[in-house]
Amino acid sequence: MLPTVLIDNIGYLSRAAGMTILLSIASVVPSAVIGMIVALLKIFGSVPIRVLMDVYLYVVRGVPLLVLLFFMYFVLPYSGLNLPPTLGGVLVMSIYFGAFMSEVFRAAIISLPRGQWDAARSLGMRRARTLGIVIFPQAFRLAAPPFVNTCILLIKSTSLVSIISLWELTMAGREVAERTFAPMEIFGGIALIYFGICYSLSRYGQYLEGRMRFGH
């Protein structure tokens, strides 16, 4: 049923899809770490720290990812910082999605009732312990569905690194499309591959949402 151009190039495109998944994982992990740190600093940090975090969030929320990628690609080399493109791409993606992740975590943490803090503190728990025992276990469950959504946004955004010449699924698609003169079949096909990755992840997110409540 699939067009032959697609079947002929399926091996190449699969390897490229593997690269997309790899790039996604390599970016999700640090962006989750950044997101958690920024969320905590925004909630508990001193005023100057909170202002600093706000500036970071403001810039990342207001400037396109592509412009940040160009910054890494065109501007940083002039200041003597020559990152390997893959590392640079992952770094920019992590910083960019770290901001989105921080909102996911922050929203989950502050949505927990104050009484949870009161109860933990009244037992004599200190802040770190309260976070570890009481707050995080609940916040992670609350954050799971929006976290998965953000991961899907991130996976889709890995396609942008093709514009700064990194090889992944979208880049491979362009190569194959140019070679075979079958852009419709090829881009249709890689859209399907993205769909397969993202849709299965979103179903997993729904499954998590279903099991979110405790004791059910």
Partner: protein, 264 residues
């Protein structure tokens, strides 16, 4: 077991609290003896909950001193008499000896009933799991919930959740228990089972400070009733005297509203 008069477990001296421009507590002094049950009554917004929350420093007070079991709460006095905030560790250590039960139960929803009760002993007291487990089961038996050990809080009625919350506070073997309107969120038919547990605690000689709207309960359980209005203690005394013979106009008005069936 009578009240240990002259041996205060909790002492408030001249305590004031401001929220912005509003003064919630104005130079309140109160002393609670060992094994004494003090019930605090007053309208909502009178400052009674704030007073309670100051005792374990969930609310910070701006002036005065609070001493629990010989230890200054929240602050120490510096060499020049200035107030120095204690470290988080010291404040937490002091709180671990003061049990508190809240209006909205505040059980940890991600833990079973047993885990809720074991959390404090294990993570704060550094007790072994077996010891904490045994203690928790014993306490659950005391509040009549032995069959709910492995349930999650959401499966329990409000009354049952509140009894678990009491057990959780007791697991820390507190010097004093604070109850903050613990029946206000309950359906009327569930109030009794919670009050019964508190009454039993009173009989066992626990030192308690109880904020409540249940006047009959206050009369039954209190060694002393304290009436608070607009941030000051207006009147205090034995429940019999206070309820039948209030000396202040404000308490008379308060009791009148209560008898006329207003929600306080």
């Amino acid at each position: 077991m009578g009240v240990d008069s002259g041996h205060p477990t909790v002492q408030l001296r001249n305590v004031s609290v401001r929220f912005g421009r509003m003064q919630v507590l104005k130079h309140v002094s109160l002393s609670i003896d060992r094994r004494e049950v003090v019930v605090i009554i007053g309208r909502s917004g009178s400052g009674k909950t704030t007073l309670l929350r100051c005792i374990n420093f969930l609310e910070e007070y701006d002036e005065g001193e609070i001493v629990v079991d010989g230890e200054l709460i929240g602050y120490r006095t510096g060499p020049d008499g200035q107030r120095i905030r204690k470290s988080e560790r010291e404040i937490a250590a002091a709180r671990s000896n003061i049990g508190m039960v809240f209006q909205s139960y505040n059980l940890f929803p991600h833990m079973t009933v047993l885990r809720n009760i074991m959390a404090g002993p294990i993570h704060v007291r550094r007790m072994s799991r077996q010891e904490a487990d045994a203690g928790a089961r014993e306490l659950l038996a005391r509040v009549g919930l032995s069959d709910k050990v492995d349930e999650y809080p959401i499966k329990l009625s409000g009354g049952q959740q509140q009894r678990v919350a009491i057990a959780r506070a007791l697991a820390m073997q507190p010097k004093v228990m604070l109850f903050d309107e613990v029946t206000s969120a309950l359906d009327p038919e569930l109030v009794g089972e919670v009050l019964a547990v508190i009454k039993q605690l009173a009989r066992d000689g626990m030192t308690m400070v109880v904020v409540t709207h249940e006047m009959q309960f206050a009369r039954d359980i209190a060694n002393r009733v304290v009436f608070i209005d607009e941030g000051v203690i207006v009147e205090q005394g034995q429940p019999r005297d206070l309820f039948s013979n209030p000396s202040s106009e404000r308490l008379r008005a308060f009791l009148k509203r209560y008898r006329e069936g207003y929600l306080l």
